[in-house]
Each structure stands twice: as C-alpha cells, then as structure tokens.
C-alpha cells in the first residue's frame, strides 16, 4: 500500500508532544538542504529549543546526482532542554531523492520505522530507469516499515519558480515548520536573515516558497509534533566549532594566522580571513604547512603570539617547527582540527587520533601545553586561553578540536567582550642591562622574552641547545638546565589548574573518562544509566598536558575506570590481543602511566560521532563485569 498523507483536508490532531526529535534534510549537493537545515535549527533555537545540527557532507565535491554516496544536508537534533551532542538515529527525514535517502538508510543513520518525507517527482520521471529506481526504493522502504509520505515538492515549487531544484529547500522548510509547529513569523524572519545579503527579489521568492510549504502542509499533512521550548532571554550565537575557533582567534587579540588549506580545518580560516583583516589582522595562506608554521613562528618571535590552523597531515608537517618554538621558547598557538588518520585517512570524518602525537610529537623532549575544547562554546574560549598561556609560559599551546566540533552547529550564549582577552601591545621597552634572554626562574622555569625592537635585548635565539644567554652550549649542565626549565613550566601551570569536576556522584562503580568532542555524548549516557540506578559518573579533561591535579584521587573512588575515546584501541577479546599485546587508547595510556590505575578503554573509530547509545552499551557491559567481580 502506498501510505501517503495526501488528503485534501487532513484532520489535524493535537500535536504529539515529544522530548526530542532528530530531523534530517538531505539532497544532492547544490540543492540547498544544508541551508534548509541551518534555518530550521536557527528558528527552533530562537524559540528556545535545544538544537544540535551536524552537516552531512558527501566525500566528493560534486558527486553524481541521485547517488547513494551523494547525500548532502543537515541533521538537526531538536530537544526540549539543553542539547550537548548529536544524539542517536534520525526520527524524521525529508529527502529530495530516494537515492540519497537510500545512502542514509544503508549508513544506519535512520531509526527503524522512522518518518520519511520523500520528493515524489521521480515517480513519473521521463527516464524509465529513474522512475523504476524510485518505485523500487519507495516500495522497499514501505515494506521495511518506514512511514513514507510522498511529497510533490517539485510540482508545487514549479508553480512559483523557474528552477524548482533551487527552491525546494525553502518549501521543505515550510513543511518542517508546520510539522513542528514553529513560529511562522520567526521562520519568515530567519529566511530573510539567511538571504539577507541577496537582493530583495531573492528574499521574497524564498519567503513565497516557505509559505507554499507551510500551506501545503496545512492542507495535506496530518503530522504534528511539538517539542516544548523554554523561551530564551539572552542573545545566542548559532555557530559551529570552526567559526568558534576563528572568533576566538579574533577575540584573543592575535594578529597573524598562517595556514594551508586542509579539511576539516579550512573553514575556520575561510571565515577568519575577512573578519580578521577588518581589525588589522592577516590570514596568510602559505605554500605548505611547514611554511605556515615557520611563518607563524616568525610573526610570534617579532610580535604578538600567532596561530597556525591545520589538521592531521598538516600537523605532522609542522612538527619540526613546533620543536623549534619549544626549544627557543617562542609562544605559538597551533590548532589541530583532527580528522581520521593515519596518512590522508578520512578527511571529512571524525576521529580523536592525534592526542599522543600532540603530546609526544616533535623529536626529543618537547613539552607543550595541550587543550581540548569539548563543545563549540569551548572552542571559542580555548583559543583565548591558548594565546594567553602561550605568551605567559613562552610555550607552544596546541588546541585539539575535531571534525565533530568543526561541523556541529549549535546555539551558544553570546560572549560579552572582555578586554582581558586581548594580547597586550608588543613590549618595546628597554631591557635592563645584564638581563639574560633566558632568565629561567629556578622554580617555575619562566623567563621574560625579549622582542626585536627592545633596546638592549639583542640576542640570537636558536633551536640548538643553549644557555641562559642564548649562547649555543653543548655542555651537560647547560643542556639539563634548559630541559629542566622547559619541563618546569608545565609543572608550574599544572599547579594553577583546578581538579576537574565529576559529572555525577564522586564515587561509584564506574567512572568514564573522556576528552574533547565526546563530552556531551558521554554525559548523556551517564545520565541515562544513572536514571536506571547505576553508580556511574564521568570525568572530562580540558587540559591534556599538563593535566589538572587530583585526577588519580578522583579515579580511586570508583571501582573501575573506562576511557571513552574516538581513537583506536585493541579490543581486549580479539585474537592475539592480551595483556601484553593490547594497545590502549590514547587517554587510557596517558592516565595509566600517570596514575598506575588499571584503566580500561573503549572506543569507536567509525568516522561518525560516538552516540550516547553506544556508550550506554559499552558502559553497561563494563558495569556487568563489575557486578560479576562482586559475586
């Protein structure tokens, strides 16, 4: 049976009230599903729903039309309360053709039996193979139990615009606004904002399409959901992690950003370029990442701390430069928006694979500060903190973001400008006679750097071993003195950090530990298990190097500790993997060596964000072994 909702005048029942719904808008690339999803998210956020949207990006720039690998769009988790991650599988999808939809079904992205709103123009396509393909997929999905509603999007849009392929997205938006009972005035306003840069005819055309979608749904579609919203009272920014990083660069008062294009980091620099220029900053696209790093080092050396933004392969190339900055104590912020590795790996996919290479990267003992923001909002503040730490400690500070944060769009409280974010003007005051350029404090290892232009401070800094005067020194005492001073800086910073706060009770059976973008999913999993009565909590680390104090003490209050990370670890039960051969996940390895606690690990490296469901299952299994131990 062809279950369509098309009736001339549906009986609209009271909307079903939901705690949350995950909505997907997917199309061939270029058909505007992304825009539709973004505007939907913005409207819901303005109404006071929790919103988390993720981009669905095909691996190719222009994949063939109507292909299963070509899905492009947005996935939006709408929630009654705050939302901290993308959640589980999709509840409702609106698809512009059946092939991109099929791709999503095969990827396991959709909830079994979920609602599908499907463009039906393909049914009557002049190309018999297209209509056959459509009918086949449609019938299969219906047979598989999906609630498929066929929507004549193209047919409806053709009445209003010449090229319906380019207008459907706003028609689809109208349908979604009707289904979720979103404010129609707000919808109009958001469409106006979304097309604000364009001339008024473009804006009006899109409003017309939106209205058409709304009224079509009023007349033909009985689906109604309501996700209670808490009205917002404060302005919010709707941004993704890369925009947040770029805004952080702007807000930190840095002046130079050097980069080389690489997915998924590039969009931060794209966005930053003109915004930065307007305030006197420069984004320099270097000839490669080695040059970008060297350029940033040169700019830092002669002025304010600078930043270089990259991802895995580029990060590998920067290692020698990072070592120079460590050795010569030149402040530098390096942002690594991690992607799947090793090598070219999975450029658009999610992985937390670079933690160990970040901490131990660059040859020799090269201590650097490593921070991992756990949310889009933290991406903004992490860069400001990084700049400050880099200057204060004369160190390299690496900010580890990842593809999940980079492409997740959420509403965050609009920050209030604080002049303390900014770098102070470059010091050009005379250096007191006799003051050495590496006047290492015996306790903290800190010293004040001299910047070109400061009279009396002339010296040559070098990546060779050197003494306090920056003279090349190969004698054992000088070498160890330098190594110790550089190491002491980390200890000094560690002493200023506060112990991280446990999510949940401070003692129990199981503690999950994580870092970076997995925070929301881990905490949601913990909340669910706690609601079932399990004694589980979680801990999330912002500082990976140095680590905050007290972590070992926190862990000792739990019977078991499980690191949860999106990087590889050998499954404990796989063939050949035993206590001697098993390779642990990155954070587990670090924490085991620091605390001597027998920390276990669990992770997924599927290229997708780890979902709360998966964490719940892994934690449940671990809790099961604890219960078993107790017997």
């Amino acid at each position: 049976m062809n279950e369509t909702a098309i009736a001339t005048s549906p009986v609209i029942l009271a909307p079903r009230v939901l705690d949350e719904h995950i909505v997907e808008v997917i199309s061939d690339s270029g058909e505007g599903a992304q825009r539709c999803g973004q505007v939907l998210g913005a409207i819901a956020a303005r109404m006071g729903n929790g919103v988390w949207s993720e981009e669905i990006i095909p691996a190719e720039i222009r994949p063939p039309q109507r292909s299963t690998a070509g899905a492009s769009g947005n996935r939006i988790r709408l929630r009654a309360g705050r939302v901290t991650n993308g959640g589980g599988e999709t509840d409702l999808v609106i698809a512009f053709n059946e092939q991109v939809l099929l791709g999503r079904v095969r990827a396991g992205a959709l909830k079994p039996g979920c609602i599908i709103l499907l463009e039906n123009c393909w049914r009557d396509d002049r190309d018999a193979s297209v209509s056959a393909a459509y009918t086949k997929v449609h019938d299969e999905l219906v047979a598989a139990g999906y609630a498929v509603y066929e929507i004549p999007m193209e047919q409806q849009c053709r009445r209003l615009v010449a090229d319906p392929r380019r207008g459907k997205n706003m028609f689809a938006l109208g349908i979604l606004c009707a289904i979720y009972g979103l404010s129609r005035d707000l919808a109009r306003e958001q469409v106006r904002i979304a097309f604000g840069g364009k001339d008024s005819t473009v804006v009006e055309r899109n409003i017309t399409l939106l209205e058409a979608g709304l009224s079509w749904a009023d007349r033909h579609l009985a689906l109604r959901f309501s996700i209670p919203a808490t009205p917002v009272t404060e302005p919010q920014l709707v941004i993704n992690g890369n925009i947040a990083l770029a805004l952080g660069v702007l807000a930190s008062g840095m002046e130079v950003c050097a980069m080389y294009p690489i997915t998924p980091a590039t969009s931060a620099s794209h966005y930053l370029t003109s915004a930065f220029e307007a305030v006197g900053g420069v984004v320099h696209q270097a000839e490669d990442e080695i040059a970008a790093c060297a350029f940033a080092i040169g700019a830092s050396y002669a002025g304010k701390c600078s930043v270089t933004i990259t991802s895995g392969p580029g990060y590998s190339l920067k290692q020698e430069g990072i070592g120079l900055a460590v050795m010569a104590e030149i402040p530098l912020v390096v942002v690594n928006v991690q992607r799947g590795g090793p090598s070219t790996g999975q450029p658009t996919k999610i992985e937390q694979g670079d933690l160990l290479t970040t901490i131990f990267g660059s040859h020799g003992d090269a201590p650097k500060i490593v921070l991992a923001p756990a949310s889009v909002e933290e991406c903004f503040y992490a860069v400001i903190t990084a700049r400050k730490l880099a200057e204060t400690f004369r160190m390299v500070v690496v900010v580890l973001s990842d593809a999940a944060l980079a492409t997740s769009q959420v509403a965050v409280p609009r920050p209030t400008f604080d002049p303390a974010w900014l770098a102070p003007p470059v010091n050009q005051s005379p250096v007191p006679a006799g003051k050495p350029p590496y006047d290492w404090d015996p306790l903290t290892g800190l010293s004040e750097r001299f910047i070109p232009g400061q009279p009396g401070g002339m010296h040559t800094i070098t990546g060779l071993a050197h003494d306090r005067l920056s003279h090349v020194a190969y004698d054992p005492e000088s070498n160890e003195l330098g190594l110790e001073a550089r190491s002491r800086k980390l200890a000094a910073l560690a002493k200023t950090l506060r112990p991280p706060v446990v999510h949940g009770d401070e003692e129990g059976d199981l503690l999950l530990v994580g870092w970076g973008s997995t925070r929301g999913a881990i905490e949601e999993a913990v909340d669910r298990l706690r609601a079932e009565g399990h004694r589980i909590s979680s801990l999330h680390l912002l500082f990976l190097q140095p680590m905050a104090p007290g972590i070992g003490d926190i862990m000792r209050k739990f019977r078991k500790v499980l690191a949860v990370e999106a990087n590889w670890s050998d499954r404990p039960d796989g063939a050949l993997f035993d206590d001697e051969t098993r390779r642990y996940s990155a954070l587990a390895l670090l924490l085991r060596s620091r605390t001597l606690i027998d920390i276990d690990c669990w992770g997924q490296v599927t290229g997708q964000p780890i979902k709360p469901d998966a964490i719940v299952r892994a934690a449940r299994a671990k809790l099961g072994t604890i219960a078993g131990d107790a017997k």
Partner: protein, 326 residues
C-alpha cells in the same frame, strides 16, 4: 634634560661603530668565505646606522646559518630550510624592522626550495644572502644542488651525477623577482656595494654569493680567485658603477641595464667567467606585506572589539520578540 640635549644624545647614540654589531668570535674555518660576508654586513650596518635592536637576522641550518650569532642584533637561528618563511612572518608582524636572511645552498636550494620559489613571489622586503659554497659544509661534504656535475663528495665519490642548479637563473625565472644579484666573497668592495644596493631595495633582494669553503673544496674557486679575467663585472648607470681601481683589475666587463630581464637571464646562464653585479632590479614590484597591511588600520583593542561585535551580530539569534511570537 631639554629636548635639544636629548636629541643630541640620541644622535650620538646613533653614531655606531663596527663593534656595535659584532658578537663573539666567528667559528668558521680560517679562509671561509662566510667571514668576508660577515665583515661586509657589519660595515653596511655601521655605515647606514642600522639600529641594532631594530635589525634582525634570520637563518636556517648550516655553517652559513651561524651568521646571526655573530651579529649584535636580534637574530633567529632556525631550522634547516625554513629561514625564508620565518623571515616572512617577522616582516608581516613588523614592518618597522630591517630583516636579513642568511641561507646556504642546501638550506635554500634543496630542503627549502619550495619556500625560496614562493618567497620570490611574495617579494617581501628582505635582504637575502645565499652563501653558495657548492657543498654541504656543516654535515661534512655532501653534494648540494649547486655542486657542479662531476664534483666528488662523500655522497658522490665518483662525481656528482647531475648538472648543477643555477640559483640566479631560477630566481630570474619566477614571477615577481625584483632584485637579483651575484657576487663573490673574494672581492670585498663589490660584495659590500652589492649588499648595500640589495638592502636599499624595498622587496625581496636576492644576493647569490659565491662562497669559498677551504675545508671541503679548497680548490673549487681558486682559478677564479687567481685569474681576474674569470670574473665579469656587470655594471650600468642604473646598476653598479665600478671604481677605477676595480676596473683596472677586472677588465672583463659587461654593460647591462638591470631593468632588462632577458639580458639578465642571458648573463645569469654564464658560469665562466662568473658574472658579478646587479643582474636585475625592478623597484615597482609591490611587497606582499604592503599589499596585505599597507592600507590596514592598525590592530587595536577598540578595533577588535568593534570587529568582534560585528561578527557576533552576524551569528546572533535574538530572543523571540513579543510581536514575532504567534
């Protein structure tokens, strides 16, 4: 103190002596051509009264890259091959500084070759000295890209396999080349004059210096040193003018207008006699740092705040207004 006295004091301050630019005792081998380059540069700094605190030397790694340690200015002795991008960063951050670069034939033409090509295109205001001894000095005699074919080294015991790369030709082949000169370490007067002109040029001044390495290649340039006819002086009223005393020794001379790039390329291709002088000069090529920052308002807290709020506005969703609610 009155303004006038202060002014006088400052003047006295700015009368520099050679010692003001000298730091430590160079550790190069006796007879190493790098010593001559150092002397010429120190003289240049003194004569032009460069403020030591406003002068920066950037280098890579190699014997020649030790150069900044012997200057009493600011310096950054970096990593192998990366002197140019580091120097570019310095310039982009600080257009008030005089920035010099010392790099070797391995440093610039091998490991740093990509940066070299792009540095020419950027045309940032840097005075670049390529110390070309046709060998890897610091790592003990391996062939470099500029080693002549047949040169015996530790990695080419049977003689270098390939034709040597000609750095001046390469530089002249890249878009935006604006100042290209060649000189030899054993004619101090010319070395000084060329470096002086290079420093005066606003842009990427590339000076290829044929530099003797008596340690590894003691005879490499001997014939050229001994026989003045194996050096050709390139001169022109727009380029270098040659003193009568030099002209007397070096009879082999080429009149060449440094605006003529085809002529420059032809001269650059010549290896014996070695053409010495300014091959190409185009003061009109814009500097990348000026393009990027020339018309920019200076970075300030007020500007950042304004710019940031504007960006925030772009992404802000305001609380739902009463009228908008339906």
């Amino acid at each position: 103190m009155s303004e006038a006295t202060l002014c006088l004091l400052r003047l006295a301050d700015e009368q520099h002596s050679l010692e003001d630019y000298q730091s430590g005792v160079p550790r190069w081998c006796p007879g190493c051509g790098d010593n001559a380059i150092l002397s010429a540069v120190q003289r240049l700094c003194r004569d032009e009264g460069l403020r030591p605190e406003k002068t920066v030397f950037i280098s890579g790694i190699g014997c020649s890259s030790r150069f900044p340690h012997y200057m009493k200015t600011y310096g950054l002795h970096g990593i192998h091959g990366r002197a140019l991008p580091i120097a570019e960063g310095v310039r982009m951050a600080r257009r008030d500084l005089d920035v010099f670069v010392n790099t070797g034939d391995g440093d610039c033409c091998s490991i740093g070759a990509a940066h070299w090509i792009h540095a020419i295109r950027y045309n940032m205001n840097l005075t670049v000295m390529l110390h070309d001894n046709e060998i890897y000095g610091l790592t003990k005699k391996q062939a470099s890209p500029t080693s002549p074919k047949g040169l015996r080294s530790n990695t080419t015991p049977g003689g270098a396999w390939l034709e040597a790369l000609n750095p001046v030709q390469v530089t002249l082949g890249v878009q935006n080349a604006s100042f290209v000169a060649q000189v030899v370490d054993w004619i101090p007067e010319l070395l000084y004059d060329v470096l002086h002109r290079a420093w005066k040029h606003r842009g990427f001044s590339f000076v290829h210096i044929v530099q003797r390495c008596p340690e590894w290649l003691p005879n490499q340039f001997e014939p050229f040193v001994r026989d003045p006819s194996k050096v050709a002086l390139v001169h022109h009223e727009r380029g270098l003018s040659i003193s009568p005393s030099l002209a007397k020794v070096y009879r082999n001379q080429i009149q060449h207008d440094p605006r003529d790039i085809d002529g420059a390329r032809k001269i650059a291709s010549q290896r014996d006699p070695i053409p010495v002088g300014i091959l190409y000069h185009d003061p009109s090529v814009p500097c990348y740092e000026d393009l990027r920052r020339g018309n920019q308002p200076p970075h300030s807290a007020a500007l950042v705040k304004k710019g940031l709020e504007k960006q925030f506005d772009k992404f802000t969703i305001w609380p739902q207004t009463a009228e908008a609610a339906d």
